[in-house]
C-alpha cells in the first residue's frame, strides 16, 4: 500500500448527503476481477449522459456538462469534500478503488459509513471527519475561489487553506500509523500467529462444534 504523508491539491466539492457506493461505482463495473482501471467510472451515472458498460471506451462517451466532475475548475482534484454518511450501502471496495484510481487521496466529510471507512484505510485513502460548521465553511470557500487548494498533512494532523488558516483534525492513532507507513495489514496480523493458534485451542475446548 502506498504510504500517505501529505497532499496538496484542488478540492472537488460534491454537495450531497448519503452518497451511496452504488453511485460511486455502479454495479456493472463490479464484474472486473482486478483492482485497477475503475477511475473513468467513478460516479459513472452522474458523469456521462448515456448508460455505461465496462467494455466501452469511456473517453469517447458523451459527458454530462452539469456534473461537477466535468467542470474544468475541478479537473485533477485529489481531495473530495462531501456531506454526511458518505459511502453508505454496499460494501464494494471498488468504490475506494475507483476514487484512488481517479486520483482522490483524501475525502473530507462530517461522517462516513462504517464499511466504506474501513475500506479507505486498506487502500491508503485518507478519510477525514470534520464538524459540519467547518464543512460548511470549506464548501463556501471552494465555491467562491477558483483553483481552491488544500494541503493535508497527516503527520501534523492539519489541513491548511490557501489563506493559511490551519484546521486540525482527529484520527485514531492506529489508522494514522498504518497510512503513514503504508503497512501490510495481513503481515502485521500474521506476526500474531501464535496468539491465534492459542485462541483456537481455548475456543475448541469451549465450542467444539465449530471445529
Amino acid at each position: 500500500m502506498q504510504p500517505f504523508t501529505r497532499q496538496t491539491s484542488i478540492v472537488l466539492p460534491i454537495d450531497r448527503a448519503n452518497i451511496d457506493t452504488d453511485a460511486i461505482i455502479p454495479k456493472q463495473y463490479l464484474k472486473a476481477i482486478g483492482k485497477t482501471g475503475f477511475g473513468p467510472n467513478l460516479f459513472d451515472d452522474w458523469r456521462y449522459l448515456e448508460p455505461g458498460e465496462p467494455y466501452m471506451d469511456h473517453s469517447r462517451r458523451q459527458i454530462n456538462p452539469d456534473c461537477i466532475l466535468n467542470d474544468e475548475r475541478y479537473l485533477g482534484a485529489g481531495i473530495l469534500l462531501t456531506r454526511d454518511n458518505y459511502g453508505c450501502g454496499s460494501s464494494r471496495e471498488h468504490a475506494v478503488w475507483a476514487m484512488v484510481d481517479y486520483g482522490i487521496r483524501v475525502v473530507i466529510a462530517p461522517s462516513f459509513a462504517d464499511i466504506f471507512f474501513n475500506n479507505t484505510l486498506n487502500n491508503g485513502l485518507l478519510a477525514i471527519t470534520l464538524d459540519t460548521t467547518i464543512i460548511e465553511q470549506l464548501f463556501a470557500e471552494v465555491a467562491s475561489n477558483e483553483g481552491y487548494t488544500l494541503t493535508v498533512d497527516l503527520e501534523a494532523k492539519t489541513i491548511t487553506t490557501p489563506k493559511g488558516e490551519v484546521i486540525p483534525f482527529e484520527i485514531e492513532a492506529y489508522r494514522r500509523k498504518r497510512l503513514l507507513e503504508g503497512l501490510d495489514d495481513i503481515d502485521m496480523t500474521l506476526l500474531q500467529a501464535n496468539a491465534i493458534r492459542a485462541y483456537e485451542e481455548r475456543r475448541k475446548a469451549k465450542v467444539p462444534w465449530l471445529f
Binding site: K27, L30, I33, P51, A113, I186, Q192, A195
Partner: protein, 467 residues
C-alpha cells in the same frame, strides 16, 4: 451479569487486545461470492498464502447468475469470467462451493442459514453488506471489503474496534398484514439511514421475538440500511428449532452441548446499551419507500412529502433531488402510484415464508395489464424446490408472474434482470438508491404481500384492505 448480547459475542472472539486500542477478532464463518472475492484470491496467490482454515469458508455464486435458463452461460463475457473465476479459485484453494448447478445454490445470505452454516454464537463475515442478516441467529455478522476478505482468508481474524451498542425494542404486536419488512422499513424511517452508524443494533421486544426466523432475518438484513455495523437478535426456542437438523449444524451429543451454550446468547436483564429506542409495533402500517434512500419511507396511507416542509436545508435538498429522480410530486397519495414492474426476491425477502405471503395475495388473481413484468426469484434452489412442492410456482405462473432460478437478480441488477430508465418497480429488495435496479430505474421498497398486491392492482394498495 450485565452483558449485552454484543458484549458476549465480542468477548468470546477477542484473540488479543492490541496496545493501540484495536482488537484481533476471530472469525468463525466466512461466506464468499463471486463479486467481492476475485481480488482477494489474487492477493493470496501473489503472496503465496494459503487460507488459515479453509473449512470455515463457504462459497456460492449469486450476484451475476442468470435467473433464466441455467443450461446457457451468461451472455455477458465479464459475468461469465467472474463466475468461472470463483469456480477455479475454489478448486485451487480447496474451498467448499455450491456451484451454479447445485440445488443448494442461492443468495449467500439465504443459503448460510438454510444449511446451518450460520450458527448462534458465531462471528460471520462476507464481502457483502447484507451479512447483517445472520445476526438473526444471535451471531455477530457484518459485511467487509475485499481487503478484509483476504485478511480473513489469510489469518482467520480481523483488526477491529468495538462498536457502540443500540437496543431497538419493538413493543406490542404488529397488526394483521404488517410484516417484518414493514417493521424494519419503519425503524429506518425513524432513525435514518445513518441512525445506526458506529453501532451494533440488537432488536428485541415482543414484536421481534414473535417473528419467525425468516422475519428476523429480514429485520437484521436491513440493519445496514440504518448504517449499523451489525444487527442481532437473542437466541430463543425459535432460533434453536430452526437450526436443528440442518446439514452444517451439530448433531447428537454435540448439539446438546451447543444448545446449552446457545441459550446464554441474549442480553442480560441489567445489560447497558449506549442508546435505547422504543417502537410501538401497533402503530406501524405497511410501508412503501418513495425516495432514493431507505429512510425515505412512509405508511401506505400516507403521501409523498413536501421538501418545503423540511427545516434542515441539506435534507430538503435530498428530498427535492429524490422527487425529481423518482418523478413524484409532493402530496401524491402512495396508493395512486402506479408500477411498471414487480420484483419478489433477494436476501431480504426471498425465503419460503416470503413466497407464501406473496402467493396468498395473488391466488386466483391476475397481474394487472399495466404491469409489464412481474418476477419471482426464489432465494435458493431449496427455497424454489419447497415452493414448487407447495404449488406456489403454479399460483405465480397462473397469475402472470415469471418463475425464475435463484440469485440476487433485480435487487442490484448485475445480471440481465433490470429496470429500464424511467420504469417504476415495487420491489421486496433492500435498496432504492438511484440506478440500483438499473440506470434511471425507480424503486419502491415494500413487503412481499405489498409487492404482490401492487402486481395485481397495478398500483400500491393497502394489503389490509384486500386480505
Amino acid at each position: 451479569m450485565n452483558k449485552t448480547l454484543y458484549d458476549k459475542l465480542w468477548d468470546a472472539h477477542v484473540v488479543r487486545k492490541n496496545e493501540d486500542g484495536t482488537n484481533l477478532i476471530y472469525i468463525d464463518r466466512h461466506l464468499v461470492h463471486e463479486v467481492t472475492s476475485p481480488q482477494a484470491f489474487e492477493g493470496m496467490r501473489l503472496t503465496g498464502r494459503q487460507p488459515w482454515r479453509k473449512e470455515t469458508i463457504l462459497a456460492v455464486p449469486d450476484h451475476n447468475v442468470p435467473t433464466t435458463d441455467r443450461r446457457v452461460s451468461p451472455t455477458d463475457p465479464a459475468a461469465r469470467l467472474q463466475l468461472q473465476t470463483l469456480d477455479s479459485n475454489c478448486t485451487e484453494f480447496s474451498i467448499t462451493e455450491f456451484p451454479i448447478h447445485d440445488v443448494r445454490q442461492g443468495v449467500v445470505h439465504v443459503i448460510g442459514p438454510e444449511q446451518g452454516a450460520t450458527l448462534p454464537g458465531m462471528t460471520v463475515v462476507c464481502g457483502d453488506s447484507h451479512t447483517a442478516t445472520h445476526g438473526a441467529f444471535g451471531a455477530l455478522a457484518f459485511g467487509i471489503g475485499t481487503s478484509e476478505v483476504e485478511h480473513v482468508m489469510a489469518t482467520q481474524c480481523l483488526v477491529m474496534k468495538k462498536s457502540r451498542s443500540m437496543l431497538i425494542s419493538v413493543e406490542g404486536k404488529l397488526g394483521a398484514g404488517v410484516t417484518a419488512k414493514d417493521l424494519i422499513l419503519h425503524i429506518i424511517g425513524q432513525i435514518g439511514t445513518a441512525g445506526g452508524t458506529g453501532c451494533v443494533i440488537e432488536f428485541a421486544g415482543d414484536a421481534v421475538t414473535e417473528l419467525t426466523m425468516e422475519g428476523r432475518m429480514t429485520v437484521c438484513n436491513m440493519a445496514i440500511e440504518a448504517g449499523a455495523r451489525a444487527g442481532m437478535i437473542g437466541v430463543d426456542q425459535t432460533t434453536i428449532d430452526y437450526v436443528k437438523g440442518r446439514p452444517f449444524a451439530p448433531r447428537g451429543e454435540m448439539l446438546t452441548k451447543a444448545e446449552i451454550a446457545w441459550r446464554e446468547l441474549h442480553s442480560d436483564p441489567k445489560a447497558k446499551f449506549d442508546r435505547i429506542i422504543r417502537i410501538n409495533a401497533a402503530a406501524i402500517e405497511p410501508q412503501v419507500s418513495w425516495g432514493t434512500s431507505p429512510e425515505m419511507v412512509v405508511g401506505v396511507r400516507g403521501v409523498v412529502p413536501d421538501p418545503a416542509q423540511e427545516q434542515d436545508s441539506v435534507k430538503a435538498e435530498s428530498i427535492r433531488k429524490a422527487l425529481v429522480y423518482m418523478d413524484l410530486t409532493p402530496g401524491t397519495s402512495i396508493n395512486e402510484i402506479a408500477v411498471d414492474k414487480v420484483f419478489i426476491g433477494s436476501c431480504t425477502n426471498g425465503r419460503i415464508e416470503d413466497l407464501r405471503a406473496a402467493a396468498a395475495l395473488i391466488r386466483d388473481k391476475k397481474v394487472a395489464k399495466s404491469v409489464t413484468q412481474a418476477l419471482v426469484v426464489p432465494g435458493s434452489g431449496l427455497v424454489k424446490q419447497q415452493a414448487e412442492l407447495e404449488g406456489l410456482d403454479t399460483i405465480f405462473k397462473e397469475a402472470g408472474f415469471e418463475w425464475r432460478q435463484p440469485g440476487c437478480s433485480m435487487c442490484l441488477a448485475m445480471n440481465a434482470d433490470r429496470l429500464a430508465s424511467g420504469e417504476r418497480c415495487a420491489s421486496t429488495s433492500n435498496r432504492n438508491f438511484e440506478g440500483r435496479q438499473g440506470q434511471g430505474g425507480r424503486t419502491h421498497l415494500v413487503s412481499p404481500a405489498m409487492a404482490a398486491a401492487a402486481a395485481v392492482y397495478g398500483h400500491f394498495v393497502d394489503v389490509r384492505e384486500i386480505a
